[in-house]
Symmetry: C2
Subunit: 265 residues, 2 copies
Amino acid sequence: MALIMIGERINGLFKDMAKAIQERNPQPIQELAIKQTRAGARFIDINTGPAVDDPEKVMPWLVEVVESVVDTPISIDTVKVKAIEAGLKAVKKKPALINSTTAERKHLEQILPLAKHYGAAVIGLAMNEKGVPKDATDRTAIAMEIVAAADEFGIPLTDLYIDPLTLPVGVAQEHAPEALETIRQVKILSDPAPKTVVGLSNISQKTLHRPLINRTFLIMAMTCGLDAAIVDVTDNDLVDAAITSSILLNKEVYSDSFLKVGRGQ
Amino acid sequence: MALIMIGERINGLFKDMAKAIQERNPQPIQELAIKQTRAGARFIDINTGPAVDDPEKVMPWLVEVVESVVDTPISIDTVKVKAIEAGLKAVKKKPALINSTTAERKHLEQILPLAKHYGAAVIGLAMNEKGVPKDATDRTAIAMEIVAAADEFGIPLTDLYIDPLTLPVGVAQEHAPEALETIRQVKILSDPAPKTVVGLSNISQKTLHRPLINRTFLIMAMTCGLDAAIVDVTDNDLVDAAITSSILLNKEVYSDSFLKVGRGQ
């Protein structure tokens, strides 16, 4: 499938994962790593969650736990630079994805050299010290700063994933079309263009129809040129939507069994 | 909801309608007119189907049958100019929609004066005597000719619906993204822009996953600026997709009960 799916599930925000992390119990984490890989995840996102005091110690443990059962690359999801570095050091298999940096200069100066040193890809959020601008044009201007910094620090643009930032539709509805337009603009920003990514579930936070809103927004974002998304890869309707979008964008060849082919079956 | 849904179901291509038309039995037709109106149809499309020899006689009968039970405007769906005119003459309630004209000059010269005379809106297909071009730019150029002709014949552009033409993804997959791009281009063609419309079900012809492909393409087309679609308005998942798209495009106000609000409930 044309969409790079990043499995969101190993995250201390989920109760089962918070418990497993607290007890240093690898089994539930490894089950999810395997399940997400089988469902087509191209990266396994790992996030220690807010309850952990020492993410720089937990992150390497999580990397090891996941890499001991799957070959899928890791997405290291934390705002703490020390935890990012500790995670990158622990990675033994394929180059990781750093999730994420903002466009703040001091943040870029910390994260991008790490990405370069460890050969990791990196997600750049279209926000800076002033927050998330509403307008697509302003977000794209911030994305441009990240692109310039990636170039400066020697990160190939194909390893840069710009996240236009999706806010919950229930509280910031006017942001949704701006995020879509940002994706479209970023894809024509440079040649080669950076990749684009969204943390999908955020769009539906606190709504009563989360799967419907998630998959609808995913189709819309793919229509605008989205390359990757952090998603629940075990949501079959969502995966159907992503595969069907790939077909209708003519990025994958249609066959009657396109839903199976898109799942690599 | 932001999408203008045109109910596709009263069409002689469906066996139940072919039978009702042949027997001049109004009941099944009227049931569908009422059902589609309740489901949110803003126009009821009527098409005598290929089996009818005298559409110019059947069309006025169909108009009368439908208008006797609902106030919903009629979409007169036929390539026969005489049947279009006979249908328009029969309309007693709200201004109709002519479905459709191509960009062929002789076709425009027949249809547009009828639209003007009867105050009808009109669907203009992005094709001419040479057929349907593959590229979006060429389709948009044809749309531009229709826009110019509408202006020449005094049709307000808000009454003009450009159809980019959707071909079955199973046989003309490369056309799908071109149709989407045509919608985007047409919406910036003029100010005010003409409306855009698709005959949705065509995209999924002869595939094994028609509802999934239909609703996915509808979301994609709405993302590109689609205003209207000829659809099965009784397909609940499709209507959910359209309402959710309207919300995520910030064209309708979000509330927790947006699916009910979008249905006017």
